[in-house]
Subunit: 140 residues, 2 copies
DNA sequence: GGTAATTCTATTATTATAGTAGACAATAGA
DNA sequence: TCTATTGTCTACTATAATAATAGAATTACC
């Protein structure tokens, strides 16, 4: 499961994508339209800013905006940044691989091979869509 | 991420699949070959038994065995039983749907639509492989 | 200087997770 | 029938992650 925080982060970024090119968006705007607790959103946006995904300006008329064009930010990027990995097990992460606790050696672990496949399918979906695109309804 | 407990459950079931048709497998066998803390495994196997996935016998020469043929247990089934859902958000579960806390209405939530697609791809992989099959190395 | 905004450091409450303890119940075989 | 062996159940505990808040500090425009 994605954490509540990751879900908030994604919706906040979607909101900023909608306002892209229109100057700084104040935090309270995002919090209200996206139903995110304002104080918690400060934590989230500060992190996204430290990670270089959003730029900020303090003071009057300040706020947040995307540091990159929406088309250059994929959902896969966001999940990797906020959650660390797309995978369902530590051993199945391609960018943040870790060996699972109390597991067999990976070469013998059948779960490992399966989780790699799930990760790759997830990546195919999430890396294939950017913040610029409306999310298609379904695959056929 | 799958919890440690879910990972243990899957490996335990794989072990039972390997011994299918050969009588009860004692818990300590599973614990040792799969590197699972024995006491914790009792909790896990008791749950799997209550859910009808394994049958058990107590007493001498007792143990655990799969209640169904390995080919009739898919990885999707196991994850749904132990974790509740294949989805990455509560709203994207098809069998255990819940609305996400502090979210927009689902019809307006772009994340919802995206998570449904990820769930469906995950299901395609996990429902397509049963405990009877060796896990293929990769898709091309 | 005042106001509106972000930023930073700490703290808290709640929940989930991982694992353990120990008494109890059943079974097969000697 | 005794006993060793094996699973079952209830309860408990420790740790970590999560979600969220508090409040002071900083910045920038007017």
């Amino acid at each position: 499961m994605l954490s509540q925080k990751t879900r908030y982060a994604i919706r906040a970024l979607q909101h900023l994508a909608d306002q892209y090119g229109q100057g700084p968006v104040p935090l309270t705007d995002i919090a209200e339209t996206q139903k995110i607790p304002a104080k918690f959103l400060t934590v989230i946006l500060s992190e996204l800013s430290r990670e270089g995904l959003v730029d900020t300006q303090r003071g009057r008329d300040g706020g947040y905006w995307l540091a990159l064009s929406p088309i250059d930010i994929s959902y896969g990027d966001i999940v990797r940044l906020t959650r660390g990995s797309l995978a369902l097990t530590p051993c199945a992460s391609r960018f943040a691989h870790e060996t699972c606790a109390n597991c067999l050696p990976e070469s013998e672990c059948r779960l490992h091979r399966l989780m790699l496949r799930v990760r790759d399918e997830t990546a195919r979906v999430l890396d294939g869509i950017s913040l610029a695109e409306p999310v298609p309804l379904d695959v056929e």
